[in-house]
Symmetry: C2
Subunit: 381 residues, 2 copies
C-alpha cells in the first residue's frame, strides 16, 4: 500500500426534506450568491425549497452554468462576486453547476483570469467558501475538491482542484424528475470513477478492492430500478450515495489510480460536446483491452467478483469481463462506439494530435502515450 493522507471535511446532509436545513447551515453575516444551471430546478420544486430556506438571508442569483461548464460563463459570475462583495457561494443543481462554482470561488479572490487559474493552479490563493444542493448523482463533486472546466474558445477541457464544499445537501427525491439518459450517464459516470481507482493491479489493498467492487455490485444491482423511473426512494438514495462515495477518496486510499479513460473522454467532450458519462463508456473497453496484460490480475478479479466469471483461460476471462462491462453500459441505453454518435476519424486524429503535441503520458504507469491513445480510440470506432 502506498503512503497516503486522507481528509475530507465536507458535511454531508442526506435525505428527504433536508434542503430546509440551508437556513441552519448558511452564514447569516455574508452576502450569498446562489448559482444555477439552465432552469430544471424551477420545474422540480428545488428552486422553491431553496428560496424558502433562504428567507431572511442576503442573496443574489446567478443563472446559466451549462453542462461541461464554460469559463466564458463563469467569468461573468466572478465579476458578480467581485462587484457585489459575495462572501459565500451556494451551487444548486448537478455536478456542472458545482464544478463551475468551485472555479468561481477561487477566481473571485485573485486578479488573474479564471482560465489562467485552470492552466496555472499555482495562482490559487484560497477561495470564497462554497456549498451545494446536489440534484444529480454522477460527478461526486459534492464531496471532493475537483472540478472540470471547459474553454469554448480553445476547445479545451481540464480538471482543476480547489478545496472541499463546506456542506452538501442531497435529497434523493430531487432525482425523481431526472430523464432516463441522465440517470444512465450518472450510473456510468459513477461506475467509471470507481474503475479508474480500481483497475490497476491486485494485492495492494484487499479492502479498497472490496469497497470498489461494492460500488460496482450496487450500481449493477440497482440500475434496472433506477432506469425504470418507478422512483423507489431507497433505490434512488443508494444511487445518490454511490455517486458521492465513488469519488470522495473513500475507495482510493493507498492504491494506484489510472484516470486515462477520463483524460481521453474529456477530449471527446471538448471537441464534440458529448456528455461526460457517455464518453467514458465508449473509451473504457478500449483501455481495458489495450492494457489487458498490465491489468490482467485486476480484470480477472473484477470479472469474478462483479460479473461472476469464474472459469476459462486468463485471456478468455479478460475478454468476457470486457464484454460484460460493455454489455452493462449498453443495458443502460448508452452508446459504446464512436460511430454510434457520428464521431469519425477526424476527431480521433485531432485527439491523438493533442496528446502527441502535449507529450502527455497517461495511466497508473504513465505508459499510455499518443500511439496507445490512437490504438484505444481506433478500436472504439
Amino acid at each position: 500500500m502506498n503512503n497516503f493522507i486522507f481528509q475530507n471535511p465536507t458535511k454531508l446532509i442526506f435525505g428527504e426534506g433536508q434542503i430546509a436545513r440551508l437556513s441552519k447551515e448558511l452564514p447569516k453575516d455574508k452576502r450569498i450568491l446562489v448559482t444555477f444551471g439552465g432552469g430544471s430546478v424551477k420545474h422540480n420544486g428545488v428552486y422553491d425549497q431553496v428560496v424558502a430556506a433562504l428567507s431572511g438571508f442576503d442573496f443574489l442569483e446567478f443563472w446559466g452554468i451549462e453542462p461541461n461548464p464554460k469559463v466564458e460563463t463563469l467569468r461573468k459570475a466572478v465579476e458578480v462576486c467581485k462587484r457585489e462583495n459575495i462572501g459565500f457561494l451556494l451551487a444548486v443543481g448537478g455536478g456542472s453547476v458545482l464544478d463551475g462554482t468551485k472555479l468561481i470561488a477561487a477566481a473571485a479572490v485573485i486578479e488573474e483570469d479564471a482560465w489562467d487559474l485552470v492552466l496555472h493552479p499555482e495562482l490559487l490563493r484560497g477561495n470564497i467558501p462554497f456549498a451545494s444542493v446536489m440534484t444529480l448523482p454522477a460527478t461526486g463533486s459534492e464531496m471532493n475538491r475537483g472540478c472540470v472546466i471547459s474553454n469554448l474558445a480553445t476547445g479545451e477541457k481540464y480538471a482543476f482542484y480547489n478545496t472541499y464544499p463546506t456542506f452538501s445537501i442531497l435529497d434523493p427525491t430531487t432525482t425523481f424528475s431526472l430523464p432516463t439518459f441522465q440517470r444512465a450517464c450518472g450510473l456510468a459516470d459513477t461506475f467509471v470513477h470507481v474503475i479508474e481507482q480500481y483497475l490497476t493491479t491486485t494485492g495492494i489493498s484487499p479492502l479498497m478492492d472490496r469497497w470498489a467492487e461494492g460500488i460496482f455490485q450496487t450500481i449493477v444491482e440497482i440500475a434496472p430500478k433506477v432506469l425504470s423511473e418507478e422512483n423507489d426512494y431507497n433505490t434512488m438514495a443508494d444511487f445518490m450515495l454511490s455517486a458521492t462515495m465513488g469519488l470522495n477518496g473513500f475507495v482510493g486510499m493507498g492504491v494506484p489510480q489510472d484516470w486515462s479513460t477520463h483524460r481521453i473522454g474529456h477530449e471527446i467532450t471538448a471537441l464534440c460536446g458529448t456528455t461526460h458519462g457517455q464518453t467514458l463508456v465508449i473509451v473504457l473497453p478500449g483501455v481495458m483491452n489495450e492494457l489487458r496484460e498490465q491489468k490482467a490480475s485486476k480484470i480477472v478479479q473484477m470479472g469474478e467478483r462483479v460479473w461472476g466469471i469464474t472459469d476459462g483461460t486468463i485471456d478468455e476471462r479478460i475478454d468476457r469481463t470486457i464484454a460484460a462491462t460493455e454489455e452493462f453500459f449498453r443495458s443502460l441505453g448508452l452508446a459504446t462506439r464512436l460511430s454510434e454518435l457520428g464521431i469519425g476519424e477526424d476527431v480521433v486524429e485531432a485527439i491523438v494530435a493533442r496528446f502527441r503535441e502535449r507529450g502527455t503520458l497517461l495511466g497508473e504507469q504513465l505508459n499510455i502515450d499518443y500511439k496507445l491513445v490512437d490504438a484505444i480510440l481506433r478500436q472504439r470506432m
Copy 2:
C-alpha cells in the same frame, strides 16, 4: 434509508515513516501533553520516533493509561492539564490511550469531575484539541468521536462522545511487535464493530451492506497472515485500515444499528476485566441466535456473501451462519464461551440485574430487555 448527517474531519496520515510528520502537524505555540499506556512503545521504537519528531516542541509526558482506561487514572492527567496549561493532547499507543485522552481533553476544560462528564454528557463544554499516533488496529478510536471509560470504584464501563481527533498517524510497521492475542482481539473487535452496524435488516442500503461485507471479507481473508506474525506490510496495513474504516461512520450511513453485543460485552469487562474484543465474540453468537427471526434476512445475506452458504432452509442457513461466525472467532484463538474464561452464573446474574435495574433496552428495535440479555448470556456459558 434513514436521513443522516455525516462529517468526519480527522486527517488520516497513513504509512511507514509517517510518525516524523508530527513535527509538521503539531501546534508550535501550545504546550503539549503526550499520553501513553504502560510502556510497550518504549520497546518497539515508537517512543523514540515520537520524541525525535517533538524536538523543539514544549511537551510533557503522562504515562500509565491502562487497557479499559480508568477514570481514576484519567483524573490525574486532567490535573496535569489544568496545572500545566496544556493546549494540545497527543495520545501515543492503542485505543485505550486515545479513549482515555478523549475524556481528559473534555474534562480538562470544566470544573466538574471527569466521571460526572461520562454520566452527564450535557456537561461537555468543548475540549483541548487532541490527536493520536495509533499503534493497535482495533477500536477505530483514531477516526471517531467515541471512547469507552471504566470506573474502578463502581465497576462501571460506559461510552462517552467528544469530538474527532485533529489528526491520527497510523504506521503499519508499529503493529509488527503486537502479540498474537492482541492481533486476534483487534480482528475480532473490527469484525464486531461492523456487524453492529450491519446485522439489522436488508434492503435499506445495498451499498452500505456491500461495504460492511467488504470489511468482513477482508478480515477473513487477511486473518491467517495477520496472526502468522510474518508481518507482511500490505497485510498489516490493510488490517490497520480495516479497523479504522470499521468505526468511522463510513459503513453506517443511513442504516439502523444494533450495538447490543457491545453493551453486554462492556458489562463483562466492567465486572471481570476481560479484554473488550474477547467479550464481543462470546456475546455475538447469542445475540444472533436470540434475534434470529428479526434479523433473518441479514443473517442469511451475510451467510451467503461472507461464508458462502447458499443452500438449505432459512433456519439451516441461519444456524450455519452463526456457527461459521463462531468458528471464525475460534480460528483466531479466542474463547467463545464464558466458561472457557472461568466466568460463571454469578456474573451473568449480576449483569442481568444491572440491566433490570437500569431498565435499559438494547438493539436496533430497542426490544432486548434484561430477560433477553439473560437468555443471550445463558446460551454463551
